[in-house]
């Protein structure tokens, strides 16, 4: 890591002086509790004062989902870009071929079960929701596995699997933005945004705000005019930002020791605030709004995905691949279950695919309920006596 002017002793002194409340807030933000907290508040609010809640949520839906969440997509993109750089965790084919196969198996399993359930109930109108069943909550998988299987190969395996899966999901939903009209002219604006970002990169601009404020805004306008999801505005800009190869501990609190990680640190805090609002605006549904889509999503994520992952890995091992070091079949079952929670990404995909209405409500309930996948992983670890439960 390069030393940087920001990493001066007075930063450390400042940190020590921070109050317990600030440290608690910091811990809250960096443990990815913001979104679940927002969802919990939204659920209580929606089921006690629905008219007020939905009025509030409706008024904030656009700025949060289409502007704020652009920062979330930017953060995810930054992690992906750093992982695929030379020296990054995804740079070597050998390293990510098995997680890639597992991701394909997981997507096939979750989509297959989801669609089979929907068709079995003759509700073809829900077909469009299949990418939601594929979504993996990277943060949930990370924290569950870091707790359950801290010294196995499960963590990098599942993180790679989750990144690939969510990246594919984002590519699928990006063109599905439901807008009133397409204005055109977005391509030209996008070229200007990329040109400015390239120039800043050439001029070695290290501060991230100019990229965000100038290029990000232009990119947002370009996507919006073309009728694409403006929440993906930072995806084409992020590769121009200063980066460093990343070790595979994506969600670990980044060190605040140089320009690159300083901006990541700042950005992460901002994104956590946005995720709280995202949970608050989108997580509130009337609990009796459950229906076919809820069960289809739950079965797809909690049953279809683990089976798909295990089947794909089984086939790969039969074809000559090797399981990652320290990862046995019992740990793999726990890892597959840990990846079954869709939560954050499932909510994001749901709002990206569907508009206000009962279909969105039933899939939102399903998306929130997939958090139960983490409990299944804990149960499996206990049953198989692996990791933290090993004797």
């Amino acid at each position: 890591m390069k030393p940087h002017a920001l990493a001066t002793p007075h930063v450390a002194v400042h940190r020590r002086r921070r109050s317990a409340a600030a440290r608690l807030l910091d811990r809250f933000l960096h443990r990815y509790l913001a979104l679940p907290t927002g969802v919990a508040i939204a659920l209580i609010w929606a089921n006690t004062a629905p008219e007020r809640y939905f009025g509030f949520a409706h008024s904030l839906a656009f700025p949060v989902n289409e502007i704020g969440m652009a920062l979330f997509v930017g953060l995810i993109m930054q992690e992906i870009v750093e992982a695929v750089m030379p020296g990054g965790a995804l740079h070597s084919w050998r390293r990510w071929s098995l997680p890639l196969l597992a991701a394909a198996g997981g997507m096939a399993g979750s989509a297959g079960v989801y669609l089979a359930y929907v068709h079995g109930h003759y509700e073809s109108i829900l077909e469009a929701g299949w990418p939601i069943a594929c979504a993996i909550d990277i943060a949930a998988a990370y924290y569950v596995l870091k707790t359950l299987l801290p010294r196995s190969g499960a963590l990098p395996f599942v993180l790679l699997l989750a990144i690939v899966t969510d990246l594919v999901g984002m590519l699928i939903i990006a063109p599905q933005y439901q807008t009133v009209a397409v204005h055109g002219g977005g391509l030209g604006v996008m070229l200007v945004a990329l040109g400015i970002a390239g120039a800043m990169r050439a001029l070695r601009v290290h501060a991230f705000w100019p990229y965000l404020a100038i290029c990000g805004t232009l990119s947002w306008i370009a996507l919006y005019r073309e009728g694409l999801h403006p929440a993906f505005a930072l995806a084409p800009i992020v590769p121009f930002l200063p980066h460093e190869p990343r070790r595979l501990d994506l969600l670990a609190d980044p060190p605040d020791d140089d320009a690159v990680h300083h901006f990541e640190h700042e950005w992460n805090t901002l994104v956590q605030g946005i995720l709280f609002l995202f949970g608050l605006v989108n997580g509130g549904v009337l609990l009796r709004g459950y229906d076919t889509g809820t069960w289809a999503l739950l079965l797809g994520a909690l049953v279809g995905r683990p089976i798909g992952i295990l089947t794909a890995v089984g086939a790969a091992v039969a074809g000559g691949w090797h399981l990652p070091r320290g990862l046995g079949w019992r740990q793999l079952v726990v890892a597959a279950l840990a990846s079954s929670s869709g939560f954050t990404f499932a909510l994001f995909f749901a709002t990206g695919i569907l508009s206000t209405g009962p279909l969105l409500a039933q899939l939102t309930i399903g998306a929130v309920a997939t958090a139960a996948g983490s409990l299944l992983a804990i149960g499996a670890a206990r049953l198989f006596r692996v990791g933290r439960f090993a004797r």
Binding site: H58, I125, P358, L359
Partner: protein
Amino acid sequence: MRRVAFVLLTALLATAWLTPAAPNAARAIETLPTRPDSLKFAVLGDNGTGEKPEYDVGQRMTAARTTFPFDMVLMLGDNMYGRQDPQDFVTKFERPYSALLQAGVRFYATLGNHDDQNNRFYKPFNMDGERYFTFVKKNVRFFVLDTNQLDPRQRAWFDDVLQRSDDMWRICFFHHPIYSDGGRHGSDVSLRVILEPLFVKYGVDVVFSGHDHVYERLKPQKGITYFVSGSGGQLRRGDLRPSELTAAYYDQDQSFMLVEVAGDDLFFEAVARSGATVDSGVIHREPPGARDVR
């Protein structure tokens, strides 16, 4: 003696059953004025089961038409349940309403959550391939929405057509009720916060929905009367939880509605599969500015 007591008790229970929903318990066709120049139509929701109750309701509608000559039917969604192959269109739609179809009655459908989206291309549903559309009959403009997803384009379209409507009556119908006391689904408040301001702003008079498999008429909300008529084939017996919003309800058997718009008045009857009138009344149209919108 016991037999007499049993008959009396049964009659008492039957009366009590119908009392909350039947302030004017007359036969269906007797309360409607049936004026020669009025617009007459029937309303049917959640009907497409292909089972006996749907056929019974179809027969009852045919019988009602002999004295109340309606020439169109509004279908409130879930027009088809289960498999939706070509043969199902026969058994779940064409056969139950064959007499009406042969008499030239036109059906106008909206899509429910059980309907295949491609059913909008089925000619007898008169949707012209659209998820949402509008049409005029005499002095009434009907607005048909797809509430499965209230996407921005549909909202913009709805705002526009409402704004341009100078028709005397504005009636909306769609599948998911924004006011309902049905126990299984109830009011969809997320839709309400979007739709109700438009209804109020542009003076929508009456709204018909289905989804909850019961009949309910709600007290006017901000000057608008809402009906839930979702038991044209399906039924969730005893599912309605009456609240202070409930004006009348019936959840003991399948039902449909007969409606007549004559000048400034809209007359309605809810008719049970048995033929009993379970609710009836008249709504007098008030100019939007004169409405009590509390």
